[in-house]
Amino acid sequence: MTITGTTPTPRRARTRYDERMYALMNRREGAPLYATAGRRRAVVVAHVLLTVASLAAVFSALATATVWLSFLPLVLLLPWCMATGVINASTRGLLELRTRVLDERQLAERDRVRALAHRLTTYVLLCAVAGGIVVGELGGLTVGGVVLPVLISALAMHWLMPLWVAGMTAQDEPADEMDE
């Protein structure tokens, strides 16, 4: 769009990688897997469980030096990748494709998703901090020396980073010709 006195900002051209990824994310073969809201929710729940199980297996393997536990994440990797693919296909690559490939509605949708995800992560970190304090105070268990400060710092950073970024990227007030 050209407004009198301005030049439109050119959009960066799509690369072959962009085209390939766009085609991949818009393939319809797996559509029955995410055709209904119920199926999409089930896939997301499965993805969350697979992620938690993989992380738990890694942490347990490190803590106990159990060999078979260290292979469990590899076994879970295939279903995890499949679930990731289904979620990406259901969103048509909303979080996977580059900005230049998405249209204005998809960019607005991506911003909305990220804002919601950011808010949810803030609550999760807040719960983790509160849990750490409660466990330390009431449970009599000592949360590792640096764990709680690191967790609180991560929460503060996560909570305030959007404010800092917004402040740093705020634009100058445009001059009104009528004032001149």
Partner: protein, 71 residues
Amino acid sequence: MLRAERKVSRQALADAVGAHYQTIGYIERGQYNPSLDLALRMAEFFELPVEALFSLRPFRPLTDEVYGRKQ
């Protein structure tokens, strides 16, 4: 609907105006308001003024227009 009347698929319109085919569906269902830029590109595609495609108020049903009914 103008797109169906002109026998243009969502994909063809989306390709012509540089949008995703789902976005065309969102606009047609009134679930997304396009930017002025996209609205102008759609109007250009149909060779119509933008106000023939988009309005602040709901369009009158075509039957009312044709038969001159008053709402």
